[in-house]
Each structure stands twice: as C-alpha cells, then as structure tokens.
Amino acid sequence: MSKIHVQTIVNRDPVEFLADPRETLLDCLRDHLGLTGSKEGCGTGDCGACSVTVDGTLISSCLMLGVEAGGKSIETIEGMAQGEDLHPLQRKFIEHAAFQCGYCTPGILVAAKNLLEKNPSPTETEVRYWLAGNLCRCTGYDKIIRAVMDAAEEMRGAA
C-alpha cells in the first residue's frame, strides 16, 4: 500500500512525513512526529483526548486522516506553552488541581484554549457544553471548569 508524502505546519514548525492513507492525523502526530501529547481514548471522536486545532478549528485528530493535513497549520498540546512559559490555562490547571491522572488534560487544554480565543468571557454553562466532548473520568469536571473560568478571568485582566 503506497504512502503519501505530507507537508504541513505543526506548532509553527514545518514538518513532513509519509502517511498510509488509512492512518489518522493522531496516528501521524504520535507515530511519525513523536508528538505523543495528543492521546487516544476512543478512536471514534467521543472522548476528546486527541483534540488539536487545524487552521484554528478545534477537531478530534482521530477523525481526520493524516493525508488531509497537507498545507494546514496544526496546533497540539506540545505547542501550547511558549518555551518554559506556560499558558495561563496550563498554570491554572495545576493551581486548581484540575486533573488527577492527567490523560484527558492535553485535549481539554487545547479545547479550552480554542474556546477562550473565540469567547473570552464564557459562562459556566458555555464552558461545560464546549467541553462536553472531552471526557474526564477522574475529576467530575468541577475543578476543570473552575480552572478554565479562572484562566479566562486572568486573561481578560491581562488583555
């Protein structure tokens, strides 16, 4: 089965890889680019652990083929901090104890960042519905929602 050469931008860097057309973007990120921060929890778009943005749109990377990534700009959890400087969401997640096992955390952070870029002042309900596709089995979501709301407030103050 012949592979397809894909050139794309990941976390602001140009990258290229050879993809079997059956491989998902998640497979390619993890297996070809070594970016294992995006996780597979279901492979069917039901858990959000593989969330990334493609040209600014939040998607499940298990529901996009790697060969569709050509010419796009992809952001993953590995690109969220600027060097050693954490994004406010990352800091607030640590501060609020907003994760236990941490497996869903990369996907939730990517999704929450995308929300705050679109809506800097979400209500609790808006945060809950935006993140409804990011399953967390450890926390009961309480501290996640608080961390997102608190990060939003801090970012509004800084803006």
Partner: protein, 293 residues
C-alpha cells in the same frame, strides 16, 4: 485503500464511476473514519471532496435562500450570523451532531448521506423544505432532502452520483423553525427521538407548517398530519394536543439499546409540542438561542 483528492466534481464523478470495490466519500469524515476504525467499512477507495473549489462556501441565492457547500462544517454554519438568523432550527440540528471537535469537521451532507434515521441535522432540513443538488454520470438533478435516505445506512444516490450542495429556501416573513432532540445525557449521544417544526404565521395564526421526526422510523419522516394539526390554529391547547397525537401516531420505531418503541412514541409527541412552541415564538420575532432548549 486508494485516496483521491479531485479538484472538480466532474473529476470526482469519473473517479467514482471507475471505482472498484467499496467507495466512500470524505466530506467531514466524522462517520467514515469511525466506521473504518470499527471495521464496519474498509473502503477500497476514498474520494476527498474538500479540494474542490467552492465546497466551503455559504452563499445567499438571488431569491434569498442559501446554498451550502458539501465541505461546510457545523462550526462554520454556527458562525454564520445571517444563516443562523434565517434558519436557527437547521443550524441547531447540525450543531447537535457530536462534540465541539466533531463540529469542526462534520457536514450537513455527510450527516444526510450517512443515512441514519437519527441524524440530527436532517429533520431540520426536511422541515425547512431544503433540497440537494446532485451531479453524476447522467447529469445533474435536484432532490428533496427527504428523498435522499433510502433506509438505515442507504441513500437513493446511484453509482457515481454525489451531492454538490444543500439548498435552503428563502426564510420569508413571519417564519420560524426549531429542532429538538431527546438524548439521555445533555450531549454526545445519538438522538433517541428528534423533531423539527417549521412554520409561518399570519398574525397569530399558523398558515404553513412542516413537521419532521427523526429516529422513529427507518428514515426521517415528514409528517403531514402533524402539520395539518396546527395549520390554521394559534397553537392553542387543542392544536397542541392534536399535534402530539399526530406525531406519536406517525412513529414506527424499533426498540433498541437507545430507547423503546413506547418511549420513542411518547417523546415524539412531547418534542413536537415543545419544538412547535419555540418555532412559533421565533416566527413572532423572539430570538431564542441555543441547541439545548
């Protein structure tokens, strides 16, 4: 698996016509990839429609309706203020499909062609009176939305045929629509029952109505009896009771892991009532936002 990225529908039609084995189209991909993952479908050929110019466009027609490209995602629909103002029920239906992440990819055409009787975007389009433009080896044609699904997982498109756009009619004056669905959780489930109501008022009286039900029969239903129950009324209690009865009577559901015959039949009536009330309020000019009414 062969992967094709045609740059015109003409090219796509030729590819589809010459395809061998199992063929799937890739619009948003949110159904095809899940089916591939589950081993339900292993396509021999996959045709990605997203490199065709114009497939991401939402355009106002000369008559005041809308043409929506086959690559337009739910997120794109939801961000289109004018379209949302015209057809909130249609947009809401699409936005209920899957998560925010799925919204970033999933399309109206994909949701329609997946052929699920529970597809959330389809009742809204049926109630709106939407059509699809089709191209194929034999030329172009236009079909009503409700004529596309042939049964669970099947469509009436022939080999080599594909949808090129969704067409929504002009909203016009004093109209309103609404789609509601029932799921056990608040998000992330397949509709157990879905109902869309689209209506137009003259003063307080309903002059036109279309009522559509999802997940209560092998295909999405357009229920004339339910529409007739409210046309000519002000959606008074008696009309609502008749609407509920007509909606429930139209149901021919199955019992499965998501719901029972009895539940689906009962809740179809309840959703018809609630959707009609919201559609009526929208027709009155009220702005009612949200997909979780």
């Amino acid at each position: 698996m062969k992967f094709h990225s045609p740059t015109s529908f003409a090219e796509a039609v030729v590819l589809a016509q010459n395809s061998e084995g199992v063929l799937r189209y890739l619009a948003g991909g949110t159904d095809v990839l899940v089916q591939m993952r589950a081993g339900i479908v292993t396509p021999d050929e996959l045709i990605d429609l997203k490199k065709i110019p114009g497939v991401f466009d939402i355009t106002r027609t000369a008559e005041g309706g809308w043409t929506i490209g086959v690559g337009v995602s739910g997120a794109q629909l939801g961000a289109h203020a004018e379209l949302c103002a015209d057809w909130p029920g249609v947009v809401d239906g699409m936005e209920l499909v899957g998560s925010t992440q799925v919204q970033g990819r999933a399309t109206l055409v994909g949701n329609l062609c997946n052929g699920s009787p529970a597809a959330d975007s389809v009742p809204g389009m049926v109630a709106a009176g939407a059509t699809v433009s089709i191209t194929g080896p034999e030329g172009d044609r236009i079909l009503a939305i409700e004529d596309i699904p042939a049964g669970p997982g099947r469509t009436n498109l022939t080999k080599g045929e594909m949808i090129t756009a969704i067409n929504l009619p002009p909203r016009g004056e004093n109209g309103g629509d609404c789609y509601l669905r029932f799921i056990p959780r608040t998000e992330m489930d397949i509709a157990v029952v879905g109902c869309a109501v689209n209506l137009r008022l003259d003063g307080d009286t309903i002059t036109e109505a279309r009522v559509s039900l999802g997940a209560v029969a092998p295909t999405v239903l357009l229920v004339q009896d339910a529409a007739d129950a409210i046309i000519g009324t002000t959606l008074d209690d008696e009309a609502v009771a008749n609407l509920m009865a007509a909606a429930s009577a139209a149901c021919n559901p199955i019992s499965d892991k998501r719901g029972t015959i009895e539940f689906r039949t009962d809740v179809a009536g309840v959703l018809a009532k609630r959707a009609a009330k919201f559609a009526y309020a929208r027709a009155k000019g009220e702005v009612i936002k949200g997909t979780h009414l």
